[in-house]
Amino acid sequence: MSALPQAHEAASPTPEVRTDRAALIAELSRVLPEDCLIADSGRLRAYECDGLMLVREMPLAVALPTTEAQVVAVLRTCHRLGVPVVPRGAGTGLSGGATPHRQGIVLSTARLNRIVSVDRLAQQAVVQPGVRNLAVSEAAAPYGLYYAPDPSSQIACSIGGNVAENSGGVHCLKYGLTVHNVLRVRMANMAGEVMEIGSAAPDSAGYDLLAVTIGSEGLLGVVTEVTVKLVPKPRVARCVLAAFADIRKAGQAVADVIAAGIIPAGLEMMDQATTAAVEQFVHAGYPLDAAAILLCESDGTEEEVQDEIARVRVLLEAAGATEIRISTDEAERLRFWAGRKAAFPAAGRIAPDYYCMDGTIPRQRLADMLEAMDGMAKKYDLGLLNVFHAGDGNLHPLILFDSNDPDSVRRAEAFGVDILELSVELGGTITGEHGVGLEKINQMCSQFGADELDMFHRVKAAFDPAGLMNPGKAVPTLHRCAEMGRMHVHHGELPHPDLPRF
C-alpha cells in the first residue's frame, strides 16, 4: 500500500528490446519442468508488482527454478535470446526492485528454499536464497544462535532479497546490516556462469566482490546459495521506554546515549501521531501525551544489561525524559516493541494509503529534519507518522494519502521527493535500507554526480556486459537525469554538459 512518486514513467525498458514471446516460452519449456514456468496471464498477474504496488507491469513469463542448474539454464537461454531477467525473492521489497520488465521474465528464487546446513560450532548456516529471514533464526534457535539482521518483514522476506537490498532492521545499530552478516554467496551471472563470492573463511583473495554484490538490487546476478553468520542469542534483553515532551529533546537524548559510549541493541523513536495510531491497534499502554517516545533496548548478560540500563536511565533523565519505564519481563518487552512493529499496519487503519520513506541523515540533524517535515505536512496538507531507527539516523516517515484522489497522490509524491532531497542536503542518503529500485531512481540524480553514476554503470557492466540483468533499476541513465532537470552539481561543474537541455 504505497504510492510511487514520478516513477510511473520509470519502468521504461532499458535496453530497448522486443522479445518473441512464443519462442522464449518454447525455449524455457525445454529447460524447466512444466510446473516451474508460468506463462498464462491469470497466474502472471501475481507477479506484476512487489511491495511497491502502484507500479505494475506484466512479465512475459515467470521462471520458478528449483535447482541451481535450472537457474543457470534459464539465464543462459535469456542471455542467448537477449531477454531481460528480473530476479525476485519474496516480493516484499518496497522500492520496485522486482517490478517486472515488459519485454523480460521474472526469475523467482522462491522455490530455492532449502536450509542446507546449520552448524553450531562454526556459527554459520548455509541456506538457499528463497529461505525466509525468520526461518534462519528459527533453525538456529535450538543451538542458542540466531541470524542478526531482522527487517520488519522478516516473517516473509527472503535471504536472497536481503542480499539484494542489504537489509537492516531494528538491531543493526549493534549487530550490523546484511553486508556484515553474510559471509559468502554463490551467484550465477547473466551468462549463466556460477561464481563463488566471499568465503566461509574470514575473507577471500582479490577484490571484495561480496561488498558490491550485497545491496546490488539484482543488477549483477542471481544468488543461488548464501552462507550467513550466526551469533549467540544474548542471555537477557530488556527495553527502556522513555517519553519526551519535546521531540528535539528526544533527538538530543539519542545523541547523548551514543556519545556516552553506549551502542544499544536497538534505539527507536516514534512521534505522538504514531504513538496514538499504534496504541489504538496494539494497546501497549504508551504515554499518549508525549511528543515523542524512545525505545532503547539493551542485551547481553544479566550483569551487562543491568549496567547499561542504569547508565541509559541516567542519560535519558538528564535529557529531560518525562517518564521512564523499564521492561520487567519478556512479555512487557515485547509489548513495548509491539507498537513500533505495528506502525505500518496502524497507518493502514487510519488512512486509505501510506507511503513509506527511507532517508538516512546524520543523527544530530534529527530534530531539524522533524521540524522540516512538520512544515511539509502542512504545505501538502497530508498526515504524517514518524517512526525511525533513531540510533542510526534512518527515517521511515509514513505519508498518509488517498490513492483514489489524484491530487492527494500528487501531493504525497511531492512530499516524498522533498523528504529525500532534504535527506541528501543534510548530509544523508535517499535510502538507508529499502533500496533505490524504480521508486527512488530519480533522486539518485540528486545524490550522485554524473561521474559516479557512470561508474555505477561500469560496475554493473563488469558483472553483466550484456546489460540484461534487472535493467533500468537502481541507477538512472545520465540522459534520464538530464531530462529530470534534477542534477547534482558536482564540484561546481555542471554534469554531462554534452547532453541537450529541455
Binding site: M195, S199, P202, P362, Q364, G393, F448
Partner: protein, 358 residues
Amino acid sequence: MSSHLHSVLREQVLEAAAHGRTLRPHGSGSKDFLAQALSGTPLDMRGAQGVIAYEPSELFITAHAGTRLADIESLLAAHNQMLAFEPPHLGPHATLGGALATGLSGPRRMAAGSLRDFVLGVTLMDGQGRVLRFGGQVMKNVAGFDVSRLIAGSFGTLGLILEVTLKVLPRPPAEQTRVLALDEAHALSTLREWGAQPLPLSATLWHDGRLAVRLSGAEPALAAAVRIIGGEPLAADDAAALWQSVREQRHPFFAGDAPLWRVALPPMAPALALEGRPLVEWNGLQRWLRSDIDADALRHAVRALGGHATLFRGGRAVDRALGVFEPLAPEVMAVHRRLKQAFDPSGVFSPGRLYAEL
C-alpha cells in the same frame, strides 16, 4: 587544499594515461613488502593530511588519505573511541589510505569485524582523473553499489584514494586477558565452544602451547566470563604489549627470515598438518605459519580445508613471482579484469600489484 591537490594529481594521472606510463600511489611505505612487486612511478599520497570531519556522537571520522593512522587513533582515544578493527600499522608513519588499500585488520577483527566492515565512504580519483565520491558519513546507505568497500584491499589498483570515512566505536569500558595452557587442537575446540556462547571475547591468540584470550566489556560481564573461561590473568601492561605485538607483528614469532604465510580458514578447520611453526588468531580463522614448505603443497592443503593462503612476507622469489595471493577462478578473474578496466581503463595504477592480470 583539496582542489589544488586534485588538479595536480589529475594532471599526473592523465599524463600517465596518455603516454602509457604507470603510477604507484603510496603512503609511508610501511606495507610495501606486501603483495606483488612494486611497479610504476611512485606517487606520494601524503600531500593531503588531516582530519576533515569527526563527530564522536555520529560515530564516524573522515580524513585525508595521507593522514597518519597514529594521529587518527590518538584523536579517537582522546574521545574514548577507537578503530575497532585495530588496523596493523606495520610502521610508525602508516597512513589511513594505506590501511584502506591493504585492507588489513588486527586482533579485534574476530569480534568487531574487519576494516571493510567499517568503511562508510571513500573519495577516489579514477584512471580518467575524475574525483568520485561513494558512500557517505551515515551508517545505513544503500544508494548505488557499495564501491567504498570494494576499494578496501584493492592495493591501489582501482584509483587514488583521496579521502576515507570510517565508522568508529566507543572503547570498551574494561578489558582483561586470561592465559591458559592448551595444545593447538584443544585450543581450537575450546575456542569454538566459547564462540557459540554469548561471551565478550575480543581477541584470541594461540602460540607454543599457550592460549591468550582478551575479554572486553562492562566489568561485571568480564567477571562472569572469567568464571567460565578460567585461566590465569595477565597484568594489564603485559596484556596490552602482547596484543600490540601480534597486531604489529613484533611478537618473537614474526622475527627471522623464514617465509611467513597467512592462512584464512573456515571455523571448523583443524590444526594444520603442515611443517612449520603456527600462531593462531581470530578463534582459529587466521593462522600464521613460518614454513619453507612448497607453495603449491601448502595452497593445496589449505584449499582442501576451504581456506586460502597468502605468502605474506619473504619466501622464494619464484613463489612470489608466481603470485603471493590465492589464484582466482577464471570467471571471478574475468569480473576482476572488467572492474579494473572500469576504474582504470588505461592501466595506470599499480599494475600487477595484486595479480599479474590486473
